[in-house]
Symmetry: C2
Subunit: 137 residues, 2 copies
């Protein structure tokens, strides 16, 4: 059975062309994707709305996660570790290259714990590092 099919079924999702195609894109992509990337790389085969809804569904199911960025854009990337529906525990650092502008999941670099002031209870933390990636230097 295909990998994408497998993932969709495991999460109780109907298997449709759009979901298979978009999931494939993520499986084939090193790094993160924005909504616009997906539209472009699928040749607008699917309606914008479908892409939005598919991404939201994948996030809800814990298949992909959102990455915080400093500009106004949402980036998505595959969850490498089994995230349950509604509960993500991706804990790796994301790197944004200033030259090629790619966002790369540094799966081996975990977000360090920080000591918060009294009264703050953390549930999730994210870290984004910008700079020059290994391919652009």
């Amino acid at each position: 059975m295909d990998l994408n099919l497998n993932i969709l079924k495991k999460n109780g999702l109907s298997v449709t062309e759009g979901r298979k195609k978009i999931l494939d894109l993520f499986l084939d992509t090193e790094g993160a994707l924005a909504h616009a990337d997906i539209e472009k790389q699928t040749d607008a085969a699917f309606d914008r709305v479908t892409v939005y809804r598919t991404l939201q569904t994948f996030v809800d199911k814990g298949i992909i996660h959102q990455i915080p960025t400093i500009d106004n854009s949402i980036l998505y990337a595959l969850c490498k570790h089994n995230c349950e529906a509604g509960l993500h525990h991706d804990n790796h650092v994301h790197f944004i290259c200033n030259i090629c502008t790619k966002t790369i999941c540094l799966d081996d670099v975990t977000v360090p714990d920080v000591k918060l002031p009294k009264g703050f209870k953390p549930t999730q933390s994210a870290m984004v590092v910008t700079g020059i990636c290994d391919e652009c230097r």
Copy 2:
């Protein structure tokens, strides 16, 4: 001389009503502001475009900085440490409260250094922690 006036002049900016008012807002606000907050709190006294341009100018001059968020929104906060034009070195952790949804600059919590894989050169890093803040618990 007023503090806001001082800041504007130091950065070689013309002193206008809009800039004074918006800068005052930041000086009076604990935490971060979104474009929408500013419109609301100035009673739409200024055109949306003016607010956009003012924020951009302040970022360029190193007066305020942008905060990465996981949803599609840009947040701005005062730079507490003297940032030069075009080069920000705010290095504190940002905390987003899941209950009151405020974003708080934890000025005393610095972003820890992480060891990146070979070939990656960092220039800036940001850390966002979500959870429950000291006032909401």
